[in-house]
Symmetry: D2
């Protein structure tokens, strides 16, 4: 069953790339294309495509989502422009089993806040400081192929408290040059779907070219592969009881 | 600090009582008044009041919620009539620390689905069958004053799978005469707020007069008392780092 | 990586089969051989062998455990005869990544109590009653190939409270004819190793011939396959810090 | 019920204080007396006493433990000298409901490893570097009275991976000057007992005089107060079923 090609859609907000020359210089074809390139390089058997905010239905039609195994999500300044209908649809697919990888500022996206049920707030600072991600669980599938830690020379800082439910699986915790820490690789299951929040990826740094970041996203995509079974999530009436019920007055 | 009077609001949808004579016969003054009576009897020091769907802002204005420590929620056929603005407000208060006790068919309320991030679906049957609730964690504050189990002679059945995130604290599991089981007392923390889902309470049975059910709801209200600290849940910029950051090019 | 043959050792206490004619009649070659037969039938690519209490080192030498991916454990009346040295060894292998499937009365084995850190007590009754196991998480790998529930016509009853840490993954909950419930399929991770407790399997019933029981054990063995990485679990001194530390007085 | 005086025993290994002049200079009357002083100052209503390795039964007789609500544990070089009989006894009391606060190098104590079921290993470095403990959950009772973080100017470093089960409650994460991070305030429940692991406290620094460290230990003692109910943790036979069981052949 694991031999079927994994179908991954990389979703990008695709706004900063067109409004901020610094971002455009790093990601001239958009951050989403670079994330997709990384997945294609590491998962040659996967079918990787992209979708963006600007497309009809943000590129996430019912039929396309029905054929998506794992969705990655990067958004920042335009969270409010994502239509509620599409968010409903993505949430439903996660409940059915689609994996979801939420990247960096996606912590404040409608879909992540919906799935967590919390504010997903944190503290932050843009100072281009060094981040070091420590592996908390070396046996976890998402940590395979990494050392005991890896570094990013320049990143935005995200700091605790991170207002999310306690992660089911803690894979990474970040150290920042400026003195903060952050739970930066967090696994959840919601319905049938697996969700991985991965912290790095500020738009003004070439983070999605980094080999370790690419390895993590690829590992997470494999980890988030949908289960075979689909859960009939519809409150069915169980009219016929397995046991005989005594007659009631 | 635990000596301050607990301020509890019992929220009732208050619809079945006016449309179903069977419900009106059991709860002539509304289910919410009976739930409130139970709390007053067991927590004499608490300030217990009620609110209903039909009141302005469903009885849950900003100012009232600001002075509420614990909210109990019963709804069923009119979930869709609860305004999104009020749901937003309740969710925000839970994140700030207000306790929330979700009763029975409240599993499908907007507020519970929002806080869980899942569909909250289950299977069900109305056959007036016997329910037996087993205590899974006899040391839990919500189980104090109960035996190893307690029974309700007639209840609606709710069965697994219950599409919620894994409970942080499993207090009860139910056995049903017709052959099903259900995780029927589930504790969660979301932001600063504690949430307890408690299964029993179908409108056509006098469940909220039951001494054990009342004990559980009162214990849960005490357990869900807000913490002293309030979480500044607003993504603040941490401009001044505790450590000096090396100058960046 | 998942193509390597899974190496499973089925461990059996192998005492009741020789002292209780009723057990000998059902399992003339021992319970362990029947459990192993079930695994071989469903996982033809796996290498399945058995080990028993009576063998030297209970059949679990250092070298054999080093080549074991998943160990299943059934014991009951002779828990106390298992040598502490072998228990130490099994625990170490679980920490390294070996999967462990603990069956029925194995809840009171030294190895399970060690890994849980709790008493693992429960209530019980031998009345040959009906057990129905409900799937709580239809998307879980261990639940694949099953219906919404399955039944065993005659089993020993185990009831709540089950004194274990809250399971990381709740796959089954049991309903018993006599009125109890039990968390009967519980997943844990300890170190690198995955642990699955599966309730059914009293020695006086032909439970390990049951197709659904066999399916669950085979699914659990696949689920418990060790991760690729091994955790250096030895408190190493991190003499060389990634960051320069200011000179101390 | 919360008005009864909390009975706390502070256990100290009490070895380094007699063999290392540097430790003796900071803690001339032993580390345990300083920890006890801190508790007495912050919890004036509590009954605080001390016990050490050198006393008969390490000062932890059956009768004394029976009258202990919360035990704090500091040990390091003499973990192996703690008698297994006393460890058994302490573990039993935790299962009954006694709270346990494990300090610093106590991560490798027999009692903590027993309760966790894992190796409890970590990485470490003695370089007197700065530690900053971040509050991950500002609403948690153990974090009350603290700011968003607090610092210790000189401490031993402990780094991830910390080989413990995923904490039920994550209260603190530490940042270290040398570049590491660590889950440094971890809450668990095992049986009826609450367990808090708190990282700081290397013997060569005056950590237990620090006001924030004292505040955390006092808060944790209150948090770990035993529940009223005691769990009969003894595998009782439930001969009389609540439901009538059909006659078996």
């Amino acid at each position: 069953m694991t031999s079927q090609a994994l179908r991954i859609v990389v979703w990008g907000e695709n706004v900063h790339e067109h409004t901020n020359p610094q971002v455009a210089a790093i990601y001239p074809r958009g951050m989403h294309t670079v994330i997709a390139d990384g997945l294609r390089a590491l998962l040659p058997a996967a079918q990787v495509s992209t979708a963006t905010l600007q497309e009809a239905e943000h590129g996430l039609s019912e039929s396309r989502l029905a054929e998506t195994d794992v969705l990655t999500w990067w958004g920042h300044k335009a969270h409010g422009n994502v239509s509620d209908a599409v968010v409903d649809r993505v949430q439903r697919r996660v409940h059915e089993g689609m994996g979801l990888i939420v990247l960096h500022s996606g912590h404040y996206s409608k879909i992540f806040k919906r799935l967590m049920g919390t504010t997903c707030s944190l503290t932050w600072r843009e100072a281009g400081e060094r981040e070091r991600l420590w592996v908390c669980n070396p046996g976890h599938p998402i940590a395979q192929g990494l050392g005991t830690y890896f570094e990013l020379p320049h990143e935005e800082m995200y700091g605790e408290p991170f207002a999310v439910p306690p992660p089911d699986e803690q894979v990474f915790i970040s150290w920042f040059e400026g003195g903060e820490v952050f739970r930066s690789g967090n696994g959840y299951t919601r319905g049938n779907g697996k969700i991985f929040y991965f912290r790095p990826g500020h738009e003004t740094y070439p983070t999605y070219f980094d080999a370790n970041v690419r390895r993590v996203i690829a590992n997470a995509a494999e980890w988030a592969r949908p289960p075979v079974a689909r859960w009939m999530d519809s409150c069915p009436n169980a009219k016929n009881s397995p046991e005989k019920i005594a007659a009631k007055v």
